[in-house]
Symmetry: C2
Subunit: 190 residues, 2 copies
Amino acid sequence: MTGPETPRRRSDVTRTAILEAARERFASDGYDRATVRAIARDAGIDPSMVMRYYGSKEGLFAAVIDVELDFPDLGELDPDRLGVVLVTHFLELWERDTVLRTLLRVGVTNESGSDRLRQVFATQLVPAARAFVPDPADAERRAALVASQVLGMALVRYVLKFGPAADMSRADVIAWLAPTVQRYITAEAP
Amino acid sequence: MTGPETPRRRSDVTRTAILEAARERFASDGYDRATVRAIARDAGIDPSMVMRYYGSKEGLFAAVIDVELDFPDLGELDPDRLGVVLVTHFLELWERDTVLRTLLRVGVTNESGSDRLRQVFATQLVPAARAFVPDPADAERRAALVASQVLGMALVRYVLKFGPAADMSRADVIAWLAPTVQRYITAEAP
DNA sequence: ACTGTAGGCCAACACCCGTTGACCTCCGCG
DNA sequence: CGCGGAGGTCAACGGGTGTTGGCCTACAGT
């Protein structure tokens, strides 16, 4: 489905140039406004090469939104520090590259974008939560609460760029959000 | 502001028909995918009428995103119930009409949409927070934290439609989010 | 009854999009 | 040396977009 695992070719340079340009364009413009022509221009090649290598705009997009939340080893962790560790990890994830920003930006308007976002939620966040919640039966609900706070902060801080949210230091964000996330995961249901 | 007014001219009927169709299209499709032609078709008129009455697509959009958060009277409220009252109010707001959904959807891709969103934040949420935070100097930061949680829940529940978030009852959402919001507003800075 | 005008439709314009297929240009290998 | 194919360009197609201006029509004021 995703990722044609072809061996190394001489055209890999162009291939990755397209991918890199696409990452930035999709991240900053969203799916609709990011045109194949603009991506090709950024990559310094002809638009038709995009089609040759990725089949279609949808195919290129699918190659871009291949995201791994890539949690650290939570197994041997003091459960009281879960909130701090998770929020710290998410902040790093958002600041490291553009893929999550892309996914958020596109997930809001594009169906295949929100599909992918739901999939990441279901296959990566929910299982991670399952190991720590008091009752595995409501792991989904607790993961959704965590997602609401983490995505919400990412939204106001990195996408909408609300002044006060964007200006907060990482330490402050962690200090404020960690207790919230901690409670959503470990607290007794209200 | 917006009420059922008896149309003095025949054109007022068309005018509001366009506005109503635009509200739904922008809410469900976002700015780019909501085409003037589709809106006109929904309203049962010709696309050129949209231009006649609203000047441009951008002008029509500006008429759509006229939002009032319209807080209840918070003045004579037990400060301990602030979280519950605020979360309840926001849930009602999101479920009452489509304008906030539109704003969120468009704010993520469209510059004039996120401008408007920042403006609502600065002129309506921040002042409301200022009355309750311990130190008025960091009202902006606390309002941003509240916005991150409230917008985040709206995002996963109403826009991305994460199963567990969409299925939660209103009472459960309030029970989980109210303490968070309460803390963001009234707690001592960490 | 006549007519000016507001309300509405139709067809077209200029532009941009994703996508396609014909063509060119090297370079490695026989 | 010949040549086949990979890597790349170019121009075009069909369709959709926001927007414009000319034309029709029904009704209100005289």
